[in-house]
């Protein structure tokens, strides 16, 4: 089966950065640049009649805030995954974007190959979480376990809890797989199970729910 081609839309007001990301997309065989904008309004108009598989968007734009488009798109085109272009990827910014419907972010200083790989991974269903977010999730689960143990104690299996804990300690998926004597795929499925256990079906709902519960999805941890 041939690899699918993902259509990418880009919204970035800085000319050089936009050019850089355009090049990143064009260089990857599985990605295709569908459209590229330097302002919010033309992008929103374009999405009224067009679709894309992925949107890369900046937040601070000359004619508005990227969150406006993220919110609208998350509702109207749930199949379009939204990635935010960010310099720092700090928790507060990422949290507000995920609340609006984004699935993750890409550092502005990421190398071209990494940019393309993150896009492809997201489209293939990867649900990586950063150690910081994993720690927050653990904290919340522990608090719940002590508060209302009977209801939430079974939210995570011991194995899933262990995986989450190792992520929070900085271990990469591959290392966790090796430590636990399982495949990388098993680890990925543990992460996916977290979504299932939250009783969430669609991807954006999962993100919303995860955010609500302190879990922030679609952040790519270091690969080991």
């Amino acid at each position: 089966m041939p690899d699918p081609i993902w259509r990418v839309a880009l919204l970035e007001d800085d000319k050089d950065t936009r050019a850089y990301f355009e090049r990143c997309v064009q260089l990857h065989s599985q990605l295709e640049l569908a459209a590229s904008f330097d302002a919010l309004l033309p992008a929103m108009q374009w999405f009224e009649t067009n679709t894309a598989d992925v949107l890369l968007t900046d937040l601070a734009l000359p004619d508005g805030h990227g969150l406006t488009l993220i919110k609208e798109l998350a509702q109207r085109q749930p199949t379009c995954d939204i990635l935010v272009v960010s310099v720092f990827g700090d928790e507060d910014t990422v949290l507000s974007c995920v609340e609006a419907g984004a699935v993750g972010y890409i550092h502005k200083d990421s190398k071209p190959a990494d940019v393309a790989q993150i896009i492809v991974d997201v489209k293939q269903g990867a649900s990586p979480i950063s150690p910081m977010i994993a720690r927050k999730l653990l904290e919340r689960l522990r608090r719940r376990t002590t508060d209302v143990a009977p209801v939430h104690a079974t939210l995570l299996s011991p194995r899933e809890s262990e995986v989450l804990e190792l992520i929070a300690r900085g271990y990469a998926y591959a290392e966790i797989a090796r430590l636990q004597g399982v495949t990388m795929h098993t680890i990925q499925s543990h992460i996916k199970n977290l979504y299932a256990k939250l009783a969430v079906h669609s991807r954006s709902e999962a993100v919303f729910e995860a955010t609500r519960m302190g879990l922030l999805a679609s952040m790519k941890p270091g690969e080991g």
Binding site: V87, F88, G89, D90, E91, D109, S110, K111, D114, S130, P131, M132, R135, E165, A168, R169, G170, Y171, A172, E175, P221, G222, E223, G224
Partner: protein
């Protein structure tokens, strides 16, 4: 009890008194069928000595006829048939407003009545109330003889009042009126005093004021004193009872004096002493009476005390200070009235036989004084309550004000605290920028300006400065003391750089305990220290593998960074010096030693609660 209720009580008692008094206006009308007997022949036996028979006119006042003597007497009254009595079918009555102390009455040889013990001098019982004896009219003949046997105790108001004789139908209303006036009114006066006393007691329970206590005691005593006027069967024999009663009256005088002081202000010390001596002399002088067989000491006391009270009243007229003019005027008149009544009663009961049987004035004067007490006491109570309320209100106000001040202070303190925190945060950010991004940017600038550095080196420097920034931002969210989170964030941020340098990272991080000394600043120092160590390894070690391990051992958090590069040659570089400074700032032990191969950087964080503040 509220003041309103007290007022109602006063009003009710006043109305009741008025209703009782009104029907007893003196109006003794005698029908001609009623005769009055006043001529008698008396044969007395005084101290066992028979005195010759003498004619007298009733009323007989024993204390006037036989002063300070006790004995018995027989009175013989001869009288003609009363008009219209021969054919009368109705009962007749003999009526005396007073006959004392014990008596037996015979009409024409028929014993009509007897009361008390005729021989026992000082017996508990003595007649005090009006006496009416009914008998059939047929006992009356043309020449009648009424024989009265009597026992008279010294100074006990013994004697016989003028005798009325006539149809019961006509005399009974007179007797009933006299009974109401003497007995019922006296009981009403005593009851009033008891009520005032109880009222004062209730007030005293609420406010332990001297005034209420003495008013309560005084009125209770007064009630007993008034009751004594009609109380026939006493609880003690005459001598003992008299001593008791006089002692109680002395206490009453002191109570009155205390109340006067409360109203007129404190009295001079000599006067208080005089009053005390007078009060103590009362029981002493009366107790002397049976010993010296004379009432002179007691009478002297009575006279002197009346003089002293008169003097006190005159002196009170000149008092200027003190509370409430109306209180003073009322109390003054109350006491004056009682003094006059007391003098009148004393004179009447001891000096004039014609006054025998008259009602005692003092009880009414005492009731008026009792009402005055009640008025003063309730007024004081009302004032005290108002004062208490006012005090309460002002206290509340003060508390409120204090609370406001506290809130204000708190707001100012927290604002100051906030601005201090902002300043501290600003200092931290500036230091971070100076040590991290600033230094990196300056280096990049130098590299570009020199023109000799390759582009890749400049890019590396800039990338490093970006990493610095990202770590600084992560540090804002790091939980204080969580070394695991710190290491994880460090790896997450540096991973791309390590990877692009072609170095494999070995990660061996145990679950670590909370780092006790890991304050906000301590965490920053640790983060920068490790960043410096990793950067050094990336730039200078020329290694292929980097291993970071962390574990908890011997109360220390041990962090070790090992590379398999060419090893460290010079330990005096700027980076290393900064690492040492940071290590010492967080009280950590830093060792940098050659590994086999490469370099081994070890950091030991003591994790025991220490009292000394780390140098930060």
């Amino acid at each position: 009890m509220t003041v309103e209720r007290a007022r109602q009580w006063i009003a009710m008692v006043a109305i009741a008194s008025a209703l009782l008094i009104t029907p007893f206006a003196r109006a003794e009308t005698f029908d001609d069928r009623v005769i009055t007997l006043t001529d008698a022949d008396i044969t007395a036996t005084i101290d066992g000595e028979l005195r010759p028979t003498t004619p007298i006119q009733l009323p007989l006042h024993w204390d006037v006829s036989y002063p300070e003597l006790s004995g018995t007497a027989t009175l013989k009254l001869a009288f003609k048939r009363p008009p219209n009595s021969a054919t009368a079918a109705e009962p007749y009555m003999i009526y005396m407003i007073r006959i004392a102390n014990a008596y037996a009455i015979e009409l024409n040889g028929t014993l009509l009545a007897t009361a008390g013990d005729l021989d026992d001098i000082g017996n508990r019982w003595s007649s005090k109330q009006p006496v009416g004896i009914s008998f059939p009219a047929k006992l009356l003949v043309d020449d009648n003889v009424l024989l009265i046997q009597l026992r008279g105790d010294a100074a006990r108001r013994a004697g016989v009042a003028a005798i009325s004789l006539g149809p019961t139908r006509l005399i009974e209303p007179i007797r009933a009126k006299a009974y109401a006036l003497r007995v019922v009114m006296t009981m009403a006066c005593a009851m009033l005093s008891f009520l005032v006393s109880g009222f004062c007691f209730l007030l005293w329970l609420q406010q332990k004021e001297k005034l209420y206590a003495w008013a309560c005691i005084g009125e209770a005593i007064w009630a007993i004193v008034v009751l004594d006027v009609i109380w026939e069967s006493l609880p003690l024999r005459w001598t003992a009872w008299t001593i008791t009663l006089v002692s109680l009256r002395a206490i009453w005088i002191w109570a009155l004096y205390v109340i006067i002081e409360q109203v007129f202000g404190r009295r001079p010390e000599w006067e208080r002493w005089a009053m005390k001596v007078m009060v103590w002399c009362a029981p002493i002088s009366i107790s002397l009476a049976p010993l010296v067989n004379s009432l002179v000491p007691f009478r002297t006391w009575r006279g002197l005390s009346a003089l002293l009270m008169t003097g006190l009243l005159i002196r009170l007229l000149f008092v200027k200070q003190g509370r409430g003019a109306s209180e003073r005027v009322l109390l003054w008149f109350g006491v004056a009235l009682l003094l006059i009544a007391g003098v009148h009663d004393a004179v009447a009961s001891n000096l004039f036989s014609s006054q025998y049987g008259d009602a005692v004035w003092a009880k009414y004067a005492g009731s008026i004084l009792g009402l005055t007490f009640m008025w003063i006491v309730s007024k004081r109570f009302r004032q005290a309550r108002a004062e208490t309320r006012q005090l309460h209100a002002s206290l509340e106000q003060r508390i409120e004000q204090k609370e406001l001040e506290l809130r204000d202070t708190f707001a100012r303190l927290s604002a100051a605290e906030k601005s201090r925190a902002v300043v501290a945060e600003r200092e931290r950010i500036l230091r971070d920028m100076h040590d991290g991004v600033g230094a990196n940017l300056a280096t990049a600038m130098r590299q570009l300006e020199s023109g000799t550095a390759p582009a890749s080196q400049v890019a590396e420097t800039l990338r490093e400065s970006l990493d610095h920034l990202k770590l600084s931002i992560d540090a804002m969210n790091l939980p204080v003391g969580d070394v695991n989170a710190l290491l994880a964030s460090l790896r997450y941020r540096l991973q791309p750089r390590i990877e692009s340098a072609g170095i494999a990272l070995e990660w061996q991080v145990d679950l670590l305990p909370h780092w006790q000394r890991g304050s906000d600043l301590g965490m920053r120092h640790l983060q920068f220290l490790l960043l410096e160590a990793i950067s050094n390894a990336l730039q200078h070690a020329d290694a292929s593998t980097l291993t970071l391990s962390a574990r908890f051992l011997d109360e220390r958090i041990e962090i070790e960074l090992r590379d398999n590069g060419k090893g460290i040659a010079d330990q005096s570089g700027r980076g290393l010096r900064s690492m040492r400074e940071r290590a010492s700032a967080i009280g950590a032990q830093l060792t940098i030693e050659p590994g086999t191969p490469g370099t081994r950087v070890r950091l030991g964080l003591p994790n025991i609660e220490q009292r000394a503040t780390p140098r930060e």
